[in-house]
């Protein structure tokens, strides 16, 4: 498969996305992107005692967007909020075995979705 633009890892996550779906009673939800620019990612987090115990996603987008979403959920599950905040788009891209230059923005989107979801969680905490 690595003949295409995508690494084997990207293709694996594209074909077998981890944690695809929704979390009904999510602690935080982040949605970023807009359809006009091609990708929309929604990330659901379940947070308990400052720790991400579950993460799920729904993504409209290209192969890189789907794989970045999937990889992000994998990378943050079990992490503390502080640890998760340190996750960079480079780390997502690297964990995927690299993304084509034109697709780096997909990993940025994944980072953005994560931040948005954590923001949402904090907001909910504040107002709770």
């Amino acid at each position: 498969m690595a003949q295409g633009p995508y690494s084997d890892k990207v293709m694996d996550h594209f074909m077998h996305p981890r944690n695809m779906g929704e979390i009904e009673d999510a602690s935080g939800v982040g949605e970023v992107g807009n359809p006009a620019c091609g990708d929309v990612m929604r990330l659901y987090l379940k947070i308990e005692d400052g720790k991400i115990v579950d993460a799920k996603f729904k993504t409209f987008g290209c192969g890189a967007a789907i794989a970045s979403s999937s990889m992000t959920t994998e990378l943050i599950k079990g992490k503390s909020i502080d640890e998760a905040l340190k996750l960079s788009n480079e780390a997502v891209s690297e964990a995927l075995g690299g993304l084509p230059p034109a697709k780096q923005h997909c990993s940025v989107l994944a980072e953005d979705a994560l931040r948005a979801a954590l923001e949402d969680y904090k907001k909910k905490q504040g107002t709770a």
Binding site: F14, M15, K103
Partner: protein
Amino acid sequence: MLYFDIMNRVYFDHAATTPVDKRVLEAMLPYFSDSFGNPSSVLIEEGGPPRQALDEARKKVANLIGARSEEVLFTSSATESNNLAIKGLALAHKSKGNKILFSEIEHYSIMLQADSLRGLGFEVDFVKVDTDGLIDMADLKKKVTKGTILASIMQANMEIGTVQPIKEIGRFLKEQGVLFHSDGAGTCGQIPVNVQELGVDAMTISGHQFYGPKGAAGLYLRSGVPMRPILHGGFQEMGYRAGTENVPAIVGFGEASRLAQVEMEEKVARVARLGQKLWAGIASITYLHFTGHPTQRLPGHVSFWIEFVEGESLLLWLNLNGIAASTGSACASNVLAADETGLKASHVLTAVGVPPEICHGSITFSLGRENTEEEVDYALSVMPTIVDRLREMSPLYEKAKGGK
């Protein structure tokens, strides 16, 4: 239930390129190591057979499009033919005016010349198309003004399949004294084309879309129309295109043209029938929008986009299921571009009014003569599963469904 173990590929991407016909390759073979001479070596025996082979090929290509031999020039690709025609005609007619018209849906090899033409002192304007992809004749008439010297309007767009009424356009442009180039990369060798009837002054012909080899293409240039070369050097191609000729590829291009002409009727009927079946079957997918004109289109060409389904993901899943298709213009895929500036919405889809905020990539199935009814059935059986899967992942579909 997706299929990952595909033995036989289903190739529905003939607009991108086609395999070289075995008979065509056979015709080419003697010109690699045996009749290998340089056609410009006119004084030695080695130059004879390759030069005769070029003449023969020129005749065959000319026959395919109803031209005379001397009116066919060989280039290395449709892209080069398009560049030669536009820059070469524009420069040769600069004294008459500096305005050039393109349709909004030209291939990149026309579109992306605009900047360079402006640098040479030309003005470039774009003629609108309607939602079926047909040239807006009123807009064309409005935009042909005093200084207009040249218009380039493609015969068929490979992304949406629409075939333009070139004859009508040609008649109008002729009345106005405007030179008319038409990019026939999507049509010559695929549907009947006669340059006399169409009234074009120049037309691009591509061989690798009809079972000819890559590396040879043609430019029809009507007798007596002045044109400047863009590749300067030796005296090949009547002075219009320097460089040692790619003899084997040109021979193959000629033979592919001959075969295309002989087998045209049967092939067109066959792929049109399969295309209609595919079209009808696909129509049942919800939120699916066909692109291009419903009837004035390339045979065997089915193009569409689906709400809540991103084009690249759909294409990748089709590929994983053994089906080759394309998204956007087949020759302009840009996932490997240096940066994301190349990832804009297709200018063709935008031109036909497809809303970029709900469409992300059209899919084009372009059928060829080796495709079968079973392959169409197979594609029809696979499509709904893939579409469902991608929608299930999409936060947008859920909103649409949920009424939010």
